[in-house]
Subunit: 332 residues, 4 copies
């Protein structure tokens, strides 16, 4: 059954009425797959969605002393949200309008068998494992910080918060269903700090309705998500969905006023980087009119490459270029 | 024969007299190997070296229309500079005090068989090769910009200059001699934008005197140096060398007032990243007193990973953390 | 609906009666996912299944001159076959009793964007693409050969046939559904020549009934499946399924009278190899009683590593050791 | 000084007189670099060299109980041997005529920080290290076996010997000098079982005289040399050198009566494999006249890929095809 709850309101700064749709994610209604599934809500292109997300542990770790055995699943997802106009071959744009960290603690964890520089499921090694560890990060909402408190010494330090969705994606192509820990062509567990306020993320639409999923809020994360977790938090979120008819993309993209960004989500890192770079060359060529060789050369001088994470089943790299370095966009 | 030319002078801002040693690199005296070789100059720990470097083409491409066949060697190096106190097991610190782009043009080039997303020497593919291309970047010293001019359209755009050494390194360990296109444990062709004014780079001393080499100036470069070249320029450079006795490091490091940074220079990118991250965990543990697991966790929240290049015989990644996130440094 | 057709018969060489179950795969009943789906047949542990498989093109390319546009899907699968006793945590054993190439032609194809040494979907490059090509291999059943006929010269040569399943696998864990071009923990498109007569392949049971799928017959294949295809053929197949209760494995394994073999199916090749090697060390340790270090040392002297393919979404490596180098198997 | 000792003799089976030159390697005259160095002997094209090699530990571990601290260097090399006619642009052919294991023990060792599935220098991980271990392999010359004796149980097993050079190579190009633990374009520490009796190995000649080095005898080795060592032995060796004027190759090759084989020696394994495969496609195209696409297709059906080792600074892969699958060789 597809519910639909709409609140009409005058959005601050928008100057005109838009649909604002509310949804509440809870343990009982989350998903653990990016897949075709019964939508929890139906949206129209242009609608604004107000929702929340549970943290990657299903909000199971609540206070210092709690352990990973108390986690309720990995990366529970809010959704799927069905967008009326979206059909295979279109692009779904999700503009991130607001993200608020929800709660008094963020959680960081080292989970044996997961991480960039220890024996892991897909890079197994013989030799001793590091032990499980959980760190709690007290959150100061007024100061917008989370505090790291060392486990083995009495050091602590405040970290500015930059909230983003660790998980944001749609139903995969070809009928695949992928675990919520996987990033790939459909987005998913990209762990991209680019999935934050002010940015729009584009996804290929693979099934009718697109089927958007959100989850795995991060209050802050280092490049590579080295030890396997960010400051994991529940989020309150506001996003606007819209459908770009007839624009076909192969991999997720980000855009804001200043830059265009492409995502490569695969292993090894070389291939993730090659995907992001070739996608960016193609985008510049197609929409901004530079030849492929000129675009390649220009990226070699001003392009950016951001290693989002090197711990998930696929690794994620974002390549980008600031628009100030590009010609005016071609008329469609 | 080891020449030694010293000029005593009061350095601006230093408040006390230091040796300033001058050296002029030219086609006749450059090297193409990081290796043990007869030094061109002898320095003392604390000396300031004023020198210049040729561009990666040996200054062979001078004006629009010139082609890669006019290049005089790859990455000619100024040096080696012998530092009196440096012995195996020490660390050589090179503080970069000043870098000035020398000349009216920078050069960018696509050379078939070299680049991150085309068939290359070590990642060979069947299928058509892209053609050779050379771009000239007019330099505006007053505005501190170089101008990209598209080859296939009439678009042009100004790029702010951030000059750095593409090549900076010492003689390798174990008697090895490595081409000036190679980055590895000894530094070398790291293509690290971190090798710029305000930063100090540390190298392991592998042979008596350390044997510092400099070259391959870049006026600006995108992450990954995607198409295989930066804005290639000759440089005028001022650096200060000093020897840290008894500090042994395995890979190059950078440091400035704000951050500590480690270098991984190998293939694949995963291994370069693992080297940089483990070196950074060890550094934080050793000098700042966090346990390895706390350091690992902290990097997972605030660490930075910078993909310098993915085109040279080894790939280079710099991992870093801002000092504001670290405890006070331990007394030695 | 689960059909069940059983023929009781005295199997040649077995000396006692076993169930032989027949199933016919055709275009109308194939699947394109390794996933939970309605079974086409129910088997009991110990049953023998007589079935057939379509070739990877859905038998769409029939004669010289036919092109890839005539393919009907990629890797259509016979199945799923439900095995009564199989429950999560068990191991499903599939013994391959007989494989016969079905038809007068095998097909080889180069498909742009797929292959080990050309620009591909996950290793994209700029530069010219190779063109599509299809080769037909006349089959001589009496001589057990398929004939390669060069496209650009008049050379031809006979290749001995060694038929095997390119696809053999079960429903994945965690509710995932994976395309029939993917190999991973559940087996799948492993393109393992080890999936041939005389060998038993073991899979982790992830869902009730296990859900076995078969397809993508190969008459012969080179290591790495370099250009992206084998000699693709329909097969007539006879396999015996059995359930090993309470034996839990993480990755597929092969076994025959002479050797034990482990599968690593991931990217990069290093990780696929690490998975296969660590799994083999653990197997030797657990079932044959050598310490892990002794097992590691022994593999370093007599282990085998077989690169099955380097073209699919994951790469597949099989590591093995001959039983003659192992102690007697421990009593369970 | 270049010594030259020639013995004229009628070689068994050759039917005509050839120069046989003797050389004795000992601790005092070995090298640890593939590099330009003063030759120890001058040969003529066609000469046969009788020599010996020390094991990879400099023959420093002699009996059970000895430890790695008693090793005298890594991979001491006999040579360099200068071949009169060899000039840059030529190919040096080394035919391996005889290899005899010298001594009563072979040695296997696990050295912390080295190996394919444990934390290593270039793939560093946090977590516990495996401990150093040394295994001694009693050799039975009559039976041509070496015996593995488990350390932690009383199991032992005989392993057939297949002696080969772990190290065989020439001086690198561009003035580089590389450690004797490195395999690359110049050959070197390839750890290729293909470097055994009956095979000819080809090297690019980079410097006048070629400068052949030999060492690191292996009595037997598993694919991948997983734990970092083979059954390490001193060898007595007989090889014949010859110069192929004007044939230019980029990477080492092997050949025997039955097959042609190409070497890729780099990281990651994907790139090593790509190098070997593209070199093989080019070789088949150039010398046997198939088009590149036909060659690529044929390799996809009958090519072999052998992972020699995944532990050295570069990984080594040998790709091959049996000559029976190729057209007649083109007349030069």
């Amino acid at each position: 059954m597809i519910a639909r709850v709409v609140v009409l309101g005058l959005l601050a700064g928008s100057g005109w009425a838009q649909n604002v749709v509310h949804y509440t994610a809870k343990t009982a209604n989350v998903k653990y797959l990016f897949a075709t599934a019964e939508p929890v809500l139906r949206l129209k292109s242009g609608d604004i969605l107000d929702t929340n997300t549970l943290d990657c542990f299903g909000n199971g770790l609540k206070k210092p002393g709690d352990t990973l055995s108390m986690a309720k699943g990995d990366n529970p997802l809010a959704g799927p949200f069905y967008v009326d106009e979206a059909e295979p071959g279109d692009t779904l744009a999700v503009k991130i309008l607001d993200l608020q960290v929800d709660g008094e603690y963020g959680v960081g964890a080292f989970s044996p068998g997961f991480g960039s520089i220890n024996s892991s499921h897909y890079t197994p090694m013989l030799g001793g494992e590091l032990p499980e560890r959980v760190w709690f990060y007290p959150i100061d909402h007024a100061a917008n910080t989370a505090t790291f408190k060392a486990m083995d010494t009495d050091f602590s330090v405040k970290i500015p918060m930059h909230p983003f969705f660790g998980c944001i994606g749609v139903a995969p192509a070809n009928g695949e269903a992928r675990s919520s820990i996987v990033p790939a062509e459909f987005g998913g567990n990209m762990d991209s700090p680019e999935a934050s306020v002010g940015n729009t993320v584009y996804f290929p639409v693979n099934v009718k309705g697109g089927l958007l999923y959100l989850g795995d809020g991060h209050a802050a994360m280092g490049d590579g998500e080295a030890a396997g977790s960010a400051i994991e938090v529940p989020l309150k979120a506001r996003v606007q969905v819209s459908v770009i008819k007839g624009r076909r993309i192969d991999w997720p993209q980000f855009e804001n006023d200043d830059a265009i960004m492409t995502v490569g989500a695969y292993r090894p890192l070389e291939d993730a980087t090659r995907i992001a770079l070739t996608e960016l060359v193609h985008w510049i060529h197609k929409d901004y009119g530079l030849s492929e060789l000129d675009a390649y050369e220009l990226l070699s001088k001003v392009g950016k490459i951001h290693l989002n994470e090197m711990v998930d089943p696929n690794y994620v790299v974002v390549a980008s270029i600031e628009k100030k370095y590009l010609p005016a966009k071609k008329k469609p």
